[in-house]
Symmetry: C2
Subunit: 113 residues, 2 copies
C-alpha cells in the first residue's frame, strides 16, 4: 500500500438542494470539452474546480463531482449534473432529485516519492 | 437551500491500492443483505461502517463506499468493491484496477430543524 498524500479533504456544511442533469453541449462554460459521462456539474455561483460530495438520499449513493459549467437557469434548482454523475447517483428516471451536497476543501500536499 | 449539518467529513491519508469487484453473495459479513448495485466494499481489516473516498485515476471518477463485508482473500488486493461502485468508477471491463482510497472520518452533528 503506497501512501500518496497527507492532505486533508474535508466536507464542511452539508445542504439539501434540488438538482437536474444534462447530457448535451460541446463545450462547458469553463472552456472544457463537455463529457456527458463525466463526474462534473454546473452551478450558477461556485467557482470552476470546486469539488462537491453529492449524496442521493433515495439510493444512499455518494459521488464527488467537479464544477466546470454554469447553470441550471431554472428557478429552484441549484445544480445541474452531467449524466454520468446522475447515473451513478441513480437519479436518471427521476430526472430531478433532492440531493445532499457538501463542498470539499482540500489542501493536498503530495509526498509521493 | 436548507443547511443540514455542520459536521466535518475529512479524508486524511490517501493510498494507492489494487481493487477488484464482486457481484455475488446473499449476505455480507456484517450481516446485511448484499446489494450488488450498492456503493459498498469488502476489506480484510477496516471496521464495518468505515466510509472511503475511492478514486479511479484512469477515469477521474470518485465515489464514497461503505465497508460492510470481509475480503478480498487474494494476495496483493486490498479492496473488493460491490459491482455498483465498480461500475460508477468505470472499472468493470478492467476487472482489477489501481485506485486511490482515503478514509472519511465524519463527526456529523445534525442540526436540521
Amino acid at each position: 500500500m503506497l501512501q500518496l498524500t497527507t492532505g486533508i479533504a474535508s466536507a464542511n456544511e452539508e445542504y439539501l438542494i434540488t438538482a437536474s442533469y444534462y447530457s448535451s453541449g460541446a463545450v462547458t462554460a469553463s472552456g472544457e470539452r463537455f463529457d456527458q459521462d463525466g463526474f462534473t456539474a454546473a452551478s450558477r455561483t461556485l467557482p470552476f474546480g470546486t469539488r462537491l460530495q453529492v449524496t442521493n438520499p433515495a439510493t444512499g449513493r455518494s459521488v464527488i463531482v467537479r464544477i466546470n459549467d454554469r447553470g441550471p437557469f431554472v428557478r429552484g434548482r441549484a445544480l445541474d449534473l452531467a449524466k454520468g454523475a446522475a447515473e451513478a447517483l441513480g437519479m436518471i428516471s427521476a430526472g430531478v432529485a433532492t440531493l445532499k451536497i457538501a463542498r470539499l476543501t482540500s489542501e493536498e500536499a503530495s509526498n509521493s516519492p
